[in-house]
Symmetry: D3
Subunit: 73 residues, 6 copies
Amino acid sequence: MPYVKIELTREGVSREQKQTLISGITNLITEVLDKDPKLTHIVIQEIELDDWGYAGEQVSVLREKGITANKQQ
Amino acid sequence: MPYVKIELTREGVSREQKQTLISGITNLITEVLDKDPKLTHIVIQEIELDDWGYAGEQVSVLREKGITANKQQ
Amino acid sequence: MPYVKIELTREGVSREQKQTLISGITNLITEVLDKDPKLTHIVIQEIELDDWGYAGEQVSVLREKGITANKQQ
Amino acid sequence: MPYVKIELTREGVSREQKQTLISGITNLITEVLDKDPKLTHIVIQEIELDDWGYAGEQVSVLREKGITANKQQ
Amino acid sequence: MPYVKIELTREGVSREQKQTLISGITNLITEVLDKDPKLTHIVIQEIELDDWGYAGEQVSVLREKGITANKQQ
Amino acid sequence: MPYVKIELTREGVSREQKQTLISGITNLITEVLDKDPKLTHIVIQEIELDDWGYAGEQVSVLREKGITANKQQ
């Protein structure tokens, strides 16, 4: 009986990216825990940049300063 | 001190249906647990169909295939 | 696709009371929203009294002062 | 590793008020728990008044009756 | 800025299985969304079987009846 | 109507520290948003170190490697 909630800043995640997350996490849980996928629910919630705080600052402010969350090369 | 969160796919739930859920659940908790209703908060969150995954697929895709969540007759 | 989370202070809720909450809320959602009960998951989480704050005070402190959450007669 | 979620009724909270909450809570956690602010994430979620139930009623209904959540003088 | 919460029934998930979930989901999010893994937090919460309701019944009752959540062969 | 959830790794947070967080956050919300503290609920949830993943690793593993979440001097 798994339930998964994913909270993300709203920064242009596409429908296809959401589907990839949903199928990938469901497959991982099915394999690792041997859970029936019909008992696995995944909810994605996108959060406005004014509504996410990191290190004491709104992400919208961090983005205005040019600070991103991208994977560093 | 109860707090209840209800997450639902966004599929046309009316204001009256929400009120029925809120009053029904508050009454149930008041009766079963003898809790003061003034200490009972209920939050409903509707989730877009692209953002809910079930059995590894977006609910929007399931609905396009004609698969509903309705009670089976 | 409903998911319901119930957070309660840990104050002696019995297995039977939990079952009554689970069946009552599932029935209410099934009736009001016409949802298949097999798509309805309900999670109960009991919270220690030191870990719940109300009006700026720990519930454990409120209980020591004789303040309860019981329905007022 | 703190994560904080704040759920509020959507009643005109400004960007500046959100920033004050984010910086104030991050500072408090940093001081009280000695946590690195770069490990502290805070998410604010505003809830429509039809979607928040208090004492068995939608907040939208309470507001129509003139009942507010303001601090009492 | 992703935060992921995984709720599971408490049925013997090992430390290694948890690590596999954490690394697998973090890698998936890093690849699909190009997010810095240092901004990705994942929280696993195991739920007692009396505290999870499915289709109106406690999972503990379903397990006593021999109904499992295992992937069907 | 604010509800706040604080998730923390379980690393020896004392009852007094929890009370300081609860009163501090309630006061902040009362001041910034002019909310009645009797409508403000705060829930603290401590998470085992095996159950929190950061940057793809369990916090228990990070701690074994000597990596802490303490504020850097």
